[in-house]
Point group: C2
Chain length 338, copies 2
């Protein structure tokens, strides 16, 4: 059998995905990338024309069976998901459709359920780590989620693993942020990591998959960008962040004095979800995290000691891996075991 | 749609599974347990007759679509897997079919591939933890496995987490084994845990899923039951184990002197797989494991810092969860998203 794949946004992640797909070889299943689209041009089979998402979807509808892979982070592409899911399967690492308006989220879910089209988004949280699939399995088999807690930002993982460690680290907070930026771990403007919005989107997604109607508007989010620097231009922010080193050093010292470390965590909790800087005891799995790894702990009725998943939660190859795993799940529902 | 389920061996795990299934409610999917079989009797619909696996399979074949769930640890049931898979899907936590003869393993795999019937066995390693599914995703999407290492026995996890900890523990090895037995963590004869065979079976399964033709006959397995006590009767073993406390204390002391702890691990490695007692640095995730949790680290080309999964790897509810997740994967391939 042959499954067609159409990729929107063949950037860094999209290209890694296409490369992984091209190397796939299997007796029962052939995967073909039949169309790609960026913001200007789209390739449909062998013809290159101006981008038009309606025509892109039409082309895919005419070339079944087909999966659309949205590899953008676009807010406009996700508004087309309900239409895509009328006849096509969808795989995406794009958080916007699942963490934005709850109406859109519900429309996406209904479209998938009613039309029997799969909508998988493993890579929206923790890239290729088995997080969404595990949560879905827990929920659908009737387990009760009591809490989900995790470090969902590679950037903030790196920053606090470095800044706040048992035994001390001798670097200031601003210096750690500078390092992270120089190593390419942060967004061009590190405030886009430090404001917690990216983590919040992931918490909203995990909450909704758990059955809690979370939304960005009502979620408690601790923005750790100092108030006075939120409106400053980017270079001023980087220059003046050191003025706030004492504040972070004091927090860190208090944590270390109680044999704890600081970690920036997202938490899904039926009694109150949040995104915040918290203290964790030295023996907690979050305390011994290294590099820029993500970690997530599912506390459930069946797993009172949490089920934990950890590893690289960002990067083109591991994100593409999560997307490709989703595509293979869809393929196996058509062709059987491979 | 309705999917039928037939359970072989409705013991502790089988009953937990059936209970979870009974609580399942979904608009698109109905699950019905239509048959059960133990070593003496089987129930086919409403009739109870003497057990006969051929007739059991026949009944299931006549009541499609159907999944057989083998919840035994029987070596004889697994010989019927190729026949079952001719027309039926199969889900099982029974390790025997996947860690025994490589011929049988290949027959099972071929039967599933050729007949388009699913054969899922998530719960053969780490109960409901997403281990086999993650490994399958890594392998099928073209990642390269460089090493898999883990603590796969809840019993041996408990024993060494207790006996060998940074800061010292003040219990002898024999005392720790006694405690584990009293708490119900061990097999009736703890030597069935300490001999490493159960861990070895899991290593063989993980190896084969990775594409390495491992076998119990050739795998290096460190049996930590003292040689002189291997043939003794069970009570003599428990009485005389304390004679070997010095040996284990010395190993432990050496480990702790190098800021390491002892852990009994299984390792899949293209350059030589093994099951052995090893030292791990205090900062290694295996060193901070608690209770009787399992942990597994996948080292791959895409995940040079390992992808780690940890949590309860034994117990009726979490094993049933793994089996139920597998059943839902099969159901979704028929009915679409649920």
């Amino acid at each position: 059998m042959s499954l067609n794949i159409a990729v929107i946004g063949p950037g860094l992640v999209g290209s890694a995905f296409i490369n992984q797909v091209k190397q796939f070889q299997n007796k029962k299943l052939t995967l073909s990338v039949i169309a790609t689209m960026n913001s200007k041009k789209m390739t449909l089979g062998s013809s290159v024309v101006d981008s038009n998402i309606d025509k892109f979807i039409e082309y895919c509808n005419a070339n079944q069976p087909c999966v659309i892979v949205d590899s953008t982070s676009s807010e406009s592409v996700v508004t087309h998901y309900p239409k895509i899911l009328q006849k096509l399967h969808l795989v995406t690492p794009n958080k916007k459709g699942f963490s934005g308006s709850i109406d859109l989220f519900n429309q996406i879910k209904s479209a998938s359920l009613e039309n029997n089209t799969f909508c998988y988004h493993e890579a929206t949280v923790g890239a290729g780590l088995p997080i969404i699939s595990t949560l879905n399995d827990l929920v659908q088999t009737g387990d009760e989620i009591t809490k989900i807690e995790g470090i969902f930002s590679g950037t903030l993982s790196f920053i606090f693993n470095r800044f706040s460690q048992i035994g001390g680290s001798n670097v200031s907070f601003s210096q750690t942020v500078k390092e992270a930026k120089e190593l390419g771990y942060t967004e061009p403007d590190p405030r886009d990591d430090l404001n917690g919005l990216d983590v919040a989107r992931k918490v909203v997604i995990l909450g909704r998959v758990s059955g809690l109607p979370l939304s960005l508007d009502t979620l408690q989010i601790e923005n750790i960008v100092p108030k006075e620097l939120r409106e400053a231009d980017a270079s001023t922010f980087m220059e003046q962040l050191s003025n706030y080193d004492d504040y972070f050093s004091k927090l860190n010292k208090e944590a270390l004095e109680s044999k704890s470390v600081l970690r920036y965590v997202g938490c899904v909790d039926p009694n109150g979800s949040s995104v915040a800087l918290k203290k964790f005891d030295a023996s907690h799995p979050f305390a011994s995290l290294k590099g820029s790894d993500n970690i997530i702990a599912f506390y459930t009725k069946r797993f009172p000691n949490p089920l934990i998943v950890q590893g690289a939660g960002a990067g083109a190859e591991v994100t593409a891996f999560g997307m490709f795993s989703d595509v293979l799940k869809i393929a196996k529902s058509m062709v059987g075991p491979i």
